[in-house]
Assembly symmetry: C2
Homo-oligomer: 218 residues x 2
Amino acid sequence: MQRMNTKDKILQASLELFNTEGEQDVTSVDIANVLGMSPGNLYYHFKGKDPIIHQLFIDFEEEFKMVLQAPIEKPLELSDNWVYFYILFEEVADFRFFYRNLQALIERYGDLEQRFRRLVNLKIKTMASIIFDLGEQGFIQISKSEAEQMAERFALQLTYWPTYHSLMAPTMPLPVSIHHGVFSLVSQLTPYVREGGAEYLELITQFRDKMLQAVKRK
Amino acid sequence: MQRMNTKDKILQASLELFNTEGEQDVTSVDIANVLGMSPGNLYYHFKGKDPIIHQLFIDFEEEFKMVLQAPIEKPLELSDNWVYFYILFEEVADFRFFYRNLQALIERYGDLEQRFRRLVNLKIKTMASIIFDLGEQGFIQISKSEAEQMAERFALQLTYWPTYHSLMAPTMPLPVSIHHGVFSLVSQLTPYVREGGAEYLELITQFRDKMLQAVKRK
């Protein structure tokens, strides 16, 4: 069994605190307290909250890039789209403190703005790739211009859906909210489905409802 | 000629400062300075920044509600949709400091969260009404479920497009960015247009390009 080193423990505890309490309300002393560590010991590893946030972003960026790269390198199976979008939303949710105060945080930490923009551009590229593949597989038929618009729209929704949903339905459990988000994305394919858009819509609606029941039973 | 009273002058100067400098970097002393007013005089009208922000929201809410109510009460002419969406984006842009740090601000000011949620719900209702009317006018044909999804998506885009666009293209002039936002909305109607979706897409693309040229010439 692999043991976590102190740096990783600090990062994990910080991420949990930021996500649950909100980044602005958490001090480095709070983080040390949760870990039963002296503030001095924490300071030895990270010189305050800023480098912690920066390192969390670097780790998030690395993981998210890997996930986004996958469908660019190898087309998804048609049936894998739902779970793939679910994973993307989950990645965003794991890092939700950052998205919740996106503007404030990228203004505060110099290079993050550019890095975050690159990440959204990669999202657009990945979405374009998925939509293109759905066309290649003969599943949908869509004009180039509409596909481009859809790719950007998907990227925007992936970026803001979690914040939007926690504003609109603050008590909704995360998996429920994510399934609604995935449905919102995939239902946009309906009018472009080559054979039987109505059947496709019926199918994904049933699938969503089944997923919602499953996560609600838990 | 109507003269602005001191309260309104303070509100207008604050809004401009918040929008250009970012709300978190502006103090009530800065606001007084811009107006050539003593901090004591400003304090006589508003007890600090918080009641200013609160009043700005109330004013924004009133105006935005009025604009959103219009198409619910009386269907838009088909040709009025572009300009109507443009006006909505402009309303959001006028109040952009609020949208830029949405989460932080609604957390800070108790009742704003609920009021803002009601405003987004009104956006969804307005969008649903516009989409329904487009169906009634025989312009589009769309299933109920897709229309509902589209209405919510439009509301989400109206809420986050300006923040998204200033992240992705920070140097782009506002009117250019808004025309792209409107195009992003209206192009989603394409596959539902009853007669000639391709022609519709061609038409709105040309219209967007004409608009972009016009605002760039200015």
